[in-house]
Symmetry: C2
Subunit: 208 residues, 2 copies
Amino acid sequence: MTDQVSEQTTNRLSLYLRFLNELEANGVRTVSSKVLAAEFDLNAALIRKDLSHFGDLGVRGVGYVVADLRLRLRQILGLDRRLNVAIIGAGNLGFALADYPGFRQDGFRVVALFDSLPDKVGTRSRGGILIHDIRDLKRVAKREGITIAVVAVPSGSAQIVVNTVVDAGIKALLNFSPGSLRVPRDVKLKSVDVTVSLESLSFFLAKG
Amino acid sequence: MTDQVSEQTTNRLSLYLRFLNELEANGVRTVSSKVLAAEFDLNAALIRKDLSHFGDLGVRGVGYVVADLRLRLRQILGLDRRLNVAIIGAGNLGFALADYPGFRQDGFRVVALFDSLPDKVGTRSRGGILIHDIRDLKRVAKREGITIAVVAVPSGSAQIVVNTVVDAGIKALLNFSPGSLRVPRDVKLKSVDVTVSLESLSFFLAKG
DNA sequence: TTTTGTGAAACGCTTCACAGCT
DNA sequence: AGCTGTGAAGCGTTTCACAAAA
């Protein structure tokens, strides 16, 4: 078990977990790979393969016990502990993310905002998150136990900000700035590129 | 040419285009697949394959003429015309996206916000985008020539909103709400799931 | 009988390697 | 000589199909 798990598999584990949360809330006891497959428009064998990476989680003839699988997935995804998140960039997007209620549910806690503008430093988001000076990132990250940084700054300063984050010892980054960014191999960078997504939609429209 | 182009290829075309914009601004005349490959940490053959789907865009012994390739990519991606975008959900994220300056650059124009809350309808975003009643979506979409909708509403109302968007005749959707959504086969739905991204980072941290 | 777990087959994407053009 | 365009090989992911378990 736990050989090498692909990114696509881990992304799907997240989706399964979300659905299991719903099922448990609705009092559903067990669920089969077939039901999961229907929910996500996937092949049932794929779901069984995804889960089989982590041991024999199911029961033949029955399916998966919702409560057990849910707990196990939370463990696998590392959600069975607090994850403290910093948001870099106190612009519109940074504020929106800082106050996004979806995070709290899943064990993520936004504990600090960072910006370089003196006017912003010391003030708070609507939700009450304090804005720190980006120069204090390393110190605050240590003190607050920040393990994930969300980068929401203009593309011009993205690489410098990423370097600062890496230097602060943070190993996991979610980036919203457009453009190519470099990180050391032991650091994980995930990027959300809204322009790329929109242009992909435009391509779809253009080709009929 | 133009057989079946994968999503991954179209996503990369977007990246190439962004870099070509930079190169042209810097007065660079030609670029090779090798240079593009270095910029994006890809294999040069992959870049040539991506581009070869659309005809013989390069010159042997020389590379690609920056200005020509840039124009051709804009055409291929359908960016050689105005693309009018509606944002559904006038919350923090909706506002942030509505006023995001990156869109305007690429030919995307956010022409309307929509919400269901009477207090919001009739007011404007900081950037001046008018908030319409979601019930007027079909009418406004027709009038304004909206071809892309960005869905930024709470997950509970996402499917209903998506149905409304589809009913308004919009064929391309970018969704920011978590959860599975259904659209007809002739409609393209792209989803950005921030929770899935964060959980994927958490998995990375958890496994060391 | 139902449903999992899993080798083997199928598929799709990426890389290799080189012919062909400038 | 340099670089593209591309068939073939390589590789990773998904699907098939079935033995094994409840």
